[in-house]
Amino acid sequence: MSNRTVIPFGPQHPVLPEPIQLKLELQDETVVSAVPHIGYVHRGIEKAAERMEYTQNVFLVERVCGICSFIHALCYCQGIEQLQNIEAPPRAKYLRVIWSELHRLHSHHLWLGLFADAFGYESLFMQFWRNREMLMDIFDKTAGSRVIISTCAIGGTRRDISDAHLQEILDTLDEVNKQLDKSIPVILNDYSVRKRTVGIGKITREQALELGAAGPVLRANGVAQDMRQLGYAAYGELGFEPVTENDGDCYARAKVRARECYQSVDLVRKAIRQLPDGEILTKPKGRPKGRVISRVEQPRGELLYFLAADGTNRLDRLRIRTPTFANVPPLVAMLPGCELADVPVIVLSIDPCISCTER
């Protein structure tokens, strides 16, 4: 008689605050297969976007994801700008980079903390989240809100950052960098952490490419693909190079994100140094017409918006594909063969954001 059991993992699970359910088929303690179920927090944002005016949608799409709200708005605004044939002024482009990178930085802090929590390292979780608080304060000061910052607008940005605040950002980044220097080595070098992550949840480069992995999951397999290479906003002028690792396991994914933290700090510093003076908003004229695909890099990977407009003040269709959606098939490929106790670590290693996936 077979001693296989099926265990539902999620949608409510102590270690995973994201509402995904994985039906795990187990042979003793080893996972044989996993079947994902999503759809617990569907909000109908795509449909709502067809009903609202295209200018109001900026505030709607920000709410797809609470962690990288600015980057969603950026992706949408760049799409509309392409349809209306306008370009944001140079200063706005740099401000967009600054806010995007700060979002990436705080998202990676959040993830590093949750990852530590997944293998039971609660004090490290606290350390990362305490550092993250400094970044949230920057949003509060520069944008007037901590989470949904609403500073991106079609044609530029809604707010400028004053010189005093720029200096404050630089000072905070120095402190963040110092704290990262203390906490990152623990994630990367600690014996027990390595024991839980090295060689766990491994996929090959071919699998990652074939299954359409995105973001750090893909880059942990040695594929240097990052949407920031497209040079949108001001990334083209900042000499951006993607971070890659080669092992394709949980440790490599953690390492990619840890190194991206430092990279983001550098990018913000560089952007502040090169920040040009001038306007921050180009007034849009006319209404969007046509079809366009807009892509940006979110902390979790490539974010894709498809926009179709027919010249009225409402969009015909808005399609959002978030990186976690792309990373679910690789996740299902990572799980077979692992121990049940490693499942939380592996699931977290793709940095799941299920609420955005279901929109």
């Binding site: 109001q56 505030f59 709607l60 000061k141 007037g144 203390k182």
Partner: protein, 117 residues
């Protein structure tokens, strides 16, 4: 790691002693919407721009209805109002027991003695 442990052991708590000590509200915060309906001309520009449909302007009745719990504090209405009737107050919206309580009624019907507006 030992350094970190020791410094955390002897440093102040990272948390704030709330409510004795509250968080400082940032300079240009988008806190909550405040209506100053004296100058309002009931043009409806704010209602048109609001992405959350939180404002209703009834022009004939000269009434502005604002639903605090729909508002997402985006400040679009404040930018849209040419009369400067709407400000973003430097405070967060207060909690309330019932959602009904916070439907804000703007300027009352302005009528003269004969009942004409």
């Amino acid at each position: 790691m030992i350094n970190n442990v020791l410094s955390n052991l002897f440093s102040k708590p990272a948390t704030r002693n709330f409510p004795a000590k509250t968080r400082e509200i940032a300079e240009n915060v988008r806190g909550s919407v405040e209506f100053n309906t004296e100058n309002c001309v009931y043009c409806g520009a704010c209602a048109l721009k609001c992405p959350a449909n939180a404002i209703e302007v009834d022009r004939p009745a000269k009434k502005v209805t604002f639903d605090l719990y729909k508002c997402v504090a985006c400040a679009c209405c404040a930018e849209a109002c040419r009369k400067g009737c709407i400000q973003m107050a430097k405070q967060y919206a207060h909690p309330s027991y019932r959602k009904m309580d916070v439907v804000f009624q703007g300027a009352p019907l302005l009528t003269d003695e004969n009942g004409e507006t």
